[in-house]
Symmetry: C2
Subunit: 372 residues, 2 copies
């Protein structure tokens, strides 16, 4: 993997970088649509390309459970299996296992957990998480980490962050394939000293990129922004920086502003399936009766396939009727919104007007719900 900083914004920490993987080059800042089960819900790979997707994320936990990483490997790896020829990042499964709550038990060696599908018992160690990700064959793989709950007491978060560092070392040692980049994950909860310590120790180990984990777990947005703000400078300039699992459009803008390059979140796809659609002036709920005879597109500023060809009245009808096309068109538009926002951010940074771009982003939404 080759990584280069192309341009730094003059007035913020925002930056444009290029990341070259075995499956192509990505310009950052970038949003990665989430393809949990080897498909970005409701979209084909061709459609993802059409709206500007350059890299997608797949979930190791889900693919390990079904259809199984060995099956995916025998089918030629994730790219061939799902007909996506661009870069793929796989998470480590740590966050999903954390989300299982009472169904998992953490020890020094790894995590014992029960499948959410059939209750069968499984065990994933850091070495196992790397082996699974090597079988899946993503371009970027992640260290196995523990994501502490929020709130959690200081001692728990301290022990958890230390465990995550020991696991990161084991992941680094377990890695066999040299065509995959391995990213480390900074944990440390909401505690600045633990984040600093965690970042320092990870950087000392040395990874191809660095991610911020454990955010968007229930904390206030201001706290999330503060953590992104002080964590970015702790990570090397010459490596990609990734905030995992966020977020709303404004969270991405703040992350970019702090100097982060990569983002992923289920928000655009999940909200789409629930009828929540993003526009430049905030989000709308297409279920709303006020759209019953509204012949305008979702967003007058948007030039996507959906906004060019369908109006709100029809989209409301599809949603109320439970039609598959509702999920398709809503997902298309929302992902297009996220990817266009990233493209606009890159242009703004390139032209040294990112600060103005950020101000305008908020000005358009003023007095409107923020789409969370």
């Amino acid at each position: 993997m080759n990584f280069k900083v192309i341009k730094k914004d003059l007035h913020s920490a925002a930056r444009i970088c290029s990341l070259t993987t075995p499956h192509g080059r990505i310009d950052t800042p970038i949003f990665m649509p989430v393809g949990t089960q080897a498909t970005v819900k409701a979209m084909t790979p061709e459609e993802l390309c059409e709206i500007g997707t350059r890299i997608i994320l797949a979930n190791t936990y889900h693919l390990y459970i079904r259809p199984g990483h060995e099956l995916v490997e025998r089918m030629g790896g994730l790219h061939a299996f799902m007909h996506w020829d661009g870069p793929i990042l796989t998470d480590s499964g740590g966050f999903q296992v954390f989300s299982l709550g009472d169904l998992r038990k953490i020890s020094e060696d790894g995590v014992r957990f029960q499948s959410h599908l059939d209750g069968s018992t499984h065990f994933i160690s850091p070495e196992g998480a790397i082996a699974i990700q090597e079988a899946l064959g993503g371009d970027i793989i992640m260290c196995f980490d523990e994501c502490p709950p929020y709130p959690a007491d200081y001692d728990y978060v301290l022990r958890s962050a230390e465990l995550t560092i020991r696991w990161a070392r084991r992941c680094r040692e377990a890695k066999r394939r040299d065509d995959q980049a391995l990213f480390g994950i900074v944990q440390g909860g909401m505690h600045r000293d633990l984040r600093e310590r965690s970042a320092g120790e990870l950087c000392a180990l040395g990874f191809d990129g660095y991610a911020l984990g454990g955010l968007s777990v229930g904390e206030d947005k201001r706290l999330m922004y503060e953590i992104m703000g002080y964590c970015a400078p702790l990570l090397p300039q010459e490596k990609p920086r990734y905030v995992m699992g966020i977020g709303a459009p404004e969270d991405l803008i703040e992350g970019i502003s702090s100097g982060f390059d990569m983002f992923d979140c289920v928000m655009p796809t999940r909200n789409a399936r629930n009828g929540m659609l993003f526009t430049a002036s905030g989000s709308i709920n297409i279920k709303n009766a006020m759209y019953a005879e509204d012949n305008s597109p979702i967003d007058g500023e948007c030039g996507c396939y959906v906004c060019r060809n369908y109006n709100r009245a029809y989209l409301r009808h599809l949603y109320r009727s439970g039609e598959i096309l509702a999920s398709r068109l809503n997902t298309w538009h929302n992902l297009n919104y996220y990817l266009s926002l990233m493209a606009a951010a890159r242009s703004a940074i390139a032209e040294d007007r990112f600060t103005l771009f950020r101000q305008e982003f908020y000005a358009k939404r003023e007095g409107v719900g923020t789409g969370g």
Copy 2:
């Protein structure tokens, strides 16, 4: 509407015709994908075009109930509302109302029924059915008919067929728009004399096309084929002939062989969503464990987008995971199968080898389940 017989098969009643509507020309024999709620489930209009769809069917009952025909009319009619610029045929609502069972009561004047959505009471008369279809704005509209249950005693079917004729006369008189073609529907259950009488009286009234209703309601396939066989010659050569609501691929082949031109059925789309996929050698159930690591396409003879890019193992994974893409890809392939079968039938008729084509169709499926 302009209708022309282009070519008659030398050895069967099969024929190629062209049907010109305000939204374009159709070559028959043709299959019409069903777009019940102003969308062919899981497909965009562009995708329908790509696989060769030239006309779709929409359901009057469903659109009357939701979002309402007046709303569709205010939105510019069905074509504009759903972003489909090709021909549309709307059914009359008769069959759906019949399907409501105890929720409907038939009288001379029309049918009183309760909505399957909210139990609200509604009344549709023949005049009402025409007014609704004029508001929807399809290119071809259908007379309001009564579809008798099966089995039903002779007297019931007789009275029902007579009622359908009286309603057809009222539909003909109620029609106001001159840019829509009106088709009459032959009823008469499984009784040849009633079918003959019904066809004769309908033809005496005079319609732009003629449909066979009341088939595929539980009768044996041989009986269905027999009825198609003796009904086609009762209908004028110089008008389009349409068998409503059938069927399996072999039913279409038999219908074409009898001299019918148009077909519609939910089978390809509904079966797709249930994992039943059509191939030249019969249908397969993609859920089956035998496909878990099958890296071949659904149908080696098929050149559709799905068969070019995805294998059975991945399609099985998508289906088992409840992914929207499963419904999309399965629907795409199944509709492509139906539309390609119709295109192949047209070629065969054009080249006077339809009988051979029909024999080969069955030979390929020998010893394989027939996909019902």
